[in-house]
Point group: C2
Chain length 224, copies 2
DNA sequence: ACAAATTTTTAGATTTGTCTAAATTTTAAT
DNA sequence: ATTAAAATTTAGACAAATCTAAAAATTTGT
């Protein structure tokens, strides 16, 4: 007898956070880590952990932490799917810039209508990645994590395509816009500076100097 | 010093209901009427009335009822604007049928992003009416109520165009679909039956028999 | 106009999600 | 291994939004 599972917005946010902190496998996520991520107090997390366990979303071991159950993972992926599809929608259909979408998607991801998100998916042509390069889970929870690496970890002379960002803050994304660094751009590492770990790169033909801070937040898919 | 006005979802629903019950002018809406409409208890309405008055959305007179302030009206129109624009979006862009949109729009109307709804408005080409024929308030709160009347009130031989429905229940809308009665259809009243108030009409060339129940829920814009 | 019926409000309780402060458990250090 | 530090939980409180039951005000009927 499957419970008519009513999930509150707050529960959804906890489930999503636990997933992002790596609670998908059997690895336990600490109360503190969740509290910090969600800017709330550990005691609140404990309370919610009990409720989520009660409802079957997580395994909860007192003083140890929580991990998502299969049902919890399924739920998390559904929320993330909605979040990322809405982000694509906002950018592709409504001309939002990639630094503006997160806040709105945080709201839209909680809209409850299977038909709605499936139609949005269809309207967008079943995109596989969101505007920041993160993979979009399919309806049945599968998604393709790209074989990518940080620009800061690329070897000298290697080439690739910019496919994602690690830091998705508006500040960082606006910086990238200002410097014409966009997903899809081709990149070649020309030189690496030992002293400050900064890079000389070639991007879309033009030469650029990139600080370590930037390079360690850009994902590249290596050629071949 | 304008208060940073945080409106909860519940507050928005009360404001919207009060508006729909006619609380836009200075006419007071009874606690009971609101409770009945919202399927809640009068005591809950009283509590909320106090809060809404505190926040400046309504004028509240103990034992008398509430009416919306100018600020309350502005807020109500903004919510209704969002609701109706989302309805158009669902029908026009995502192929929802007009009996499916209400439930989802009830959720979407609470999304807080001015840019989002303005872009949706733009994407849809600034529609003036929603899928049920109800007018969509503009950004600055103006809207055009059409000069329409119920089919049941039309005189013999008069002609017009179907422009709206009074009853927006899924049951009624599906009935209309089944009988090929749609907004935009031309209508002519051929005969009125005194006994049961039913009508013989001509719709898009074809003759139809329409019960009073149906005729009193269809809005017609008379020709000329 | 006055009693009865209705409506509305108040008082007190409940649920959800949060908090603080204190107590407990686990982890880390010597 | 014992103690100090850190993390976690518990207990008790609070605000929001609701409810029930009782009290108060208004309206209605005669």
């Amino acid at each position: 007898m499957k419970k008519l599972f009513f999930v509150t917005r707050s529960e959804e946010n906890y489930i999503k956070t636990i997933f992002h902190l790596g609670g998908n496998s059997s690895s336990l996520i600490a109360t503190n880590a969740i509290a910090e991520q969600m800017e709330t107090k550990p005691s609140s997390v404990t309370d919610m952990a009990k409720k989520l366990a009660e409802k079957g979303f997580v395994n909860y071991k007192r003083y140890q932490g929580v991990s998502l159950t299969d049902f919890g993972i399924k739920t998390a992926l559904s929320i993330i799917r909605k979040h990322r599809l809405w982000e694509v929608f906002l950018v592709e259909k409504l001309d939002f810039s990639w630094d503006e979408v997160h806040e709105v998607a945080e709201q839209l991801e909680h809209i409850k209508s299977e038909k709605l998100i499936d139609k949005i998916d269809e309207l967008l042509g079943n995109p596989k990645y969101d505007p920041h390069g993160d993979p979009i889970p399919s309806k049945d929870g599968k998604f393709m994590e790209r074989d990518k690496q940080l620009l800061s970890e690329m070897t000298l002379k290697s080439e690739g395509v910019c496919v994602g960002v690690k830091d998705t803050s508006a500040a960082f994304l606006k910086f990238l816009d200002k410097n014409s660094i966009a997903l899809g751009n081709t990149i070649k590492v020309l030189e690496k500076e030992d002293f400050d770990l900064s890079l000389h790169i070639q991007m879309e033909g033009k030469e650029l100097h990139i600080s370590h801070q930037i390079a360690s937040n850009l994902y590249i898919k290596k050629n071949d």
